[in-house]
Amino acid sequence: MEFVLDKKSFARFVENLLSDESLDVEGVKEKDGKFVFGHLDSASDLRLDHDVTLIPPKKYFLPQYETILRYDLSKPFSAKAEKEQKGKVLLGIHPYDVAAIEQTDRVYLDDYADEGYRRRRDITIIVASDILDVSDRSFAAAMGTHRIYSGYDLLLTDLGGRVVVVVGSKKGKLLLEKHAANLAKAASPADLGAADALRDSVEEKYARVLKVKKEKWVELLEHSYGHPLWGELAGKCMQCGSCTMVCPTCYCYDILDETALDATKGKRVRTWDGCLLQDFTKVGSGEVFREGNTERFRHRFYRKGLYIPKRYHFTACVGCGRCATACLPDIASPLEVFNGLHERRSESAGGMAYALPETEKKKKRFDHMPACATIEKVEKLTGMEKLFEISMDDGDAFEYDPGQFVEVSLFGTGEAPISISSPPSGKSSFELVVRQVGNLTNKMHALKPGDKVGIRGPFGRGFDVSKLEGKDLLFVAGGIGIVPMRSLLAYVLDDRNRDRFGRVILFYGSKTPKDVLFMDEIRELEKKRDVTVKLTVDRCDEGQCWIGCTGVVTSLFPQVEITDAENTAAIVIGPPIMYKFVLKCLETLGIADERIYVSLERRMKCGGGKCGHCQINGVYVCREGPVFTYDEVKTLPEAFE
């Protein structure tokens, strides 16, 4: 359905929208000689001749600062989701930005649908407009996003004296009927022809040439991981994060709790974050997972051209050119970078292979609102670790697989991912073991039975026990790695399940005898049929009583003979540096990579594959992990760095 409005009628249409109290009308307007999306006060504010806006319209769906819930610390557990009610009309969105919104829709709505995003999306009407003026740095035509055929509710083409309006959805049709009832006329073939000619003419306005088609980016990047260009450009990068802030296809975020000075009322705020920023992958222990400038700089391009295309089947750049304009040393433009890689292809010193691990294809919902749970029991395990038994207040069975984790929420402090340490029981309660390392874990340690906490999850992919059935199982734990392992260990050794698994061997290394977790339980395990347990400590201070071995965990390997390596699966969980050594031992034993299971740790903020923090190259630890087979991650350079 196509209509046409003369300029006066179009202005009336906008005025009608503005006088509708139920609508918030936002559109493109001028700011300091550039353009922004903002609240329109009158129809004359609206500019349809803009080249590009400073910030893309993603801010309407993922605002710069979004209150996701409000809490009240004077009550044991009080949180209210913030719900925006008023409808919004966005006027003047360019085709490339519409394409970017369609991409973000896929990410935020397809799986682990984000409630806040969905709500904002539902109440918003997109009135796109065809491009009249092209920004100097844009290469939208090369990305095929200079004109669109979907993704809008209405599409405007400003032909000077008149505006052609194409209806793209029912929402758009209703809007037009309500606010342009006597203004819009059916478009004539001449109007439509003129609109089409205008769209066709846009392509020629793009001066910059992309020398390697976007369809070829995947292949190019697979060859370019070790390309010297990354280091050359990263040497000029200021880590300012501007390139990610202004990008319509970047959507990573951070979450912060802000409590008022009265120490009771507060809000949980979601805000834009970016992978170029130095603290993006920093965790409580002080470790930074993507540490170098070069790695961070490169990651952004790999996300755009390889990781996201492999996952969602689109290229995560629409060619708007905002990053090129925003980057002071002018090193951020995908056009120039991919051209550079293409032209200097022969210089690459190594590529990378990346395949997405197979995960369950069940659609999942995802919300930042935690469910209320009660601490039932607190037990001090060591100077650093406490065990918490937690039950969900809704009383429903809490279903999970061994190896999965929850996000523990304390209002005013934040959230932390914590592995479930007890075996699945079909009850509404479960156990966590928490090591005191920072703000949230400190607060956890101060909790007593009866106190309330928030729980989100369970998240991630745990162990697929069906794959372990019939096999001998070699467990190798380092330090706190025993915590997630305990869930699987207890499951396997449960009398009801024991017959389904073969021999069980546990190697467990701790720093000192004082740090050994679950000593009593381990002693009990040892008494069971077909179970071998070997413990070791790095060092044993004088006067400490210790009957196990001394040395790193790999020193235990020669002590037990693995009789049937072909039929053995290994489960390895420990600190990052442990993996390298243990994996070598397993290789020597002849245990195949696809039968080695590891559980990896990264910074996390969401648990649903959105916030971006937990990525190991293109893999989300919160979704495809934390449990992986070695086979799935061994080609990822960032996995065991």
């Binding site: 700011k31 300091d32 000689g33 550039k34 922004v36 400073l54 910030i55 710069q64 600062y65 040497g235 000029k236 990068c237 200021m238 880590q239 300012c240 994060g241 501007s242 802030m245 202004v246 802000e258 409590t259 008022a260 000075l261 009265d262 120490a263 805000t271 834009w272 970016g274 920023l277 130095q278 603290d279 920093k282 304009t325 925003a326 002071l328 040393p329 002018d330 005013g412 402090t413 920072g438 703000n439 400190n442 607060k443 101060a446």
Partner: protein
């Protein structure tokens, strides 16, 4: 929170304009919340009473005189937690500009022939120092002046037994979120890309450029600096002069 568990706070000032203290005094409606949270036992700018029994010491100002060094050491000994307040205390601030002169040059310039002999009130250190140039600092509240919200956040976190953290990213992040036209695009120089955020990019958002008052978090490579200056037709001297206002690094740097 019971009366007894309220942390006792003392606020001290050294070489400074007291503008940061004024920011605290100006917290207005929330001042009630603040006194519910902490007990202020010393705050020269707003009260007469003084006590040496405190948990948290908040220090405004940079350290310029030998006698200040001594008082500061006593404060450090008394306090469980010591906070540097404002640019002068955190990074030396504008007071550090005088480090380009020797003590003698300085005296001649300021007091001329009269001099002040041995009066310790007028004796100065060879170099003006930030607080952590003399004693260890636990937490920083940067800025010239400080951001009131950040002050509240830090105090609240400490009262709740948490470790307050400052943003680890530069002003550009906040500036982009605020949808400002980049100051460089307007043909001016801005320290936003290398200055610690937390001020909500207040200067660029009001048509000025960032002066770096919250301290630098990143030292870009020379290659990068050259590239940026030439892209925007800016001058190296001008950049250095601007950076030195708050972040002057000592005599060799002039």
């Amino acid at each position: 929170m019971s009366e007894k568990s309220k942390p006792r706070v003392a606020i001290f000032d050294f070489a400074s304009c007291e503008g940061c203290e004024l920011q605290i005094a100006n917290i207005e409606e929330e001042i009630i919340d603040l006194v519910n949270l902490v007990e202020v036992v010393s705050f020269r700018e707003v009260m007469k009473e003084h006590s040496d029994d405190y948990d948290i010491a908040i220090i405004e100002g940079s350290i310029v005189r030998p006698m200040d060094v001594e008082s500061l050491k006593v404060i450090r000994k008394n306090a469980k937690i010591l906070i540097a307040l404002g640019a002068c205390a955190c990074i030396g601030g504008v007071n550090r500009l005088r480090n380009r002169f020797t003590k003698e040059e300085l005296f001649n310039e300021v007091y001329g022939k009269t001099g002040f002999g041995d009066n310790p009130l007028f004796d100065v250190l060879d170099e003006t120092k930030p607080v952590d140039g003399i004693v260890p600092v636990d937490y920083y509240i940067p800025g010239c002046p400080i951001d009131r919200n950040e002050f509240k956040r830090v105090i609240l976190a400490l009262c709740e037994g948490k470790k307050p953290e400052l943003p680890g990213y530069p002003v550009c992040v906040e500036c982009k979120k605020n949808e400002n036209v980049c100051v460089f695009e307007k043909g001016q120089f801005c320290l936003g890309p290398v200055t610690r955020a937390g001020c909500d990019a207040i200067c660029p958002s009001h048509g000025n450029s960032c002066e770096g008052c919250r301290g630098l978090i990143y030292e870009p490579s020379n290659e990068c600096v050259k590239e940026v200056l030439s892209r925007y037709g800016l001058d190296y001297e001008e950049m250095t002069r601007r950076r030195n206002m708050f972040n002057c690094c000592g005599r060799e740097d002039q």
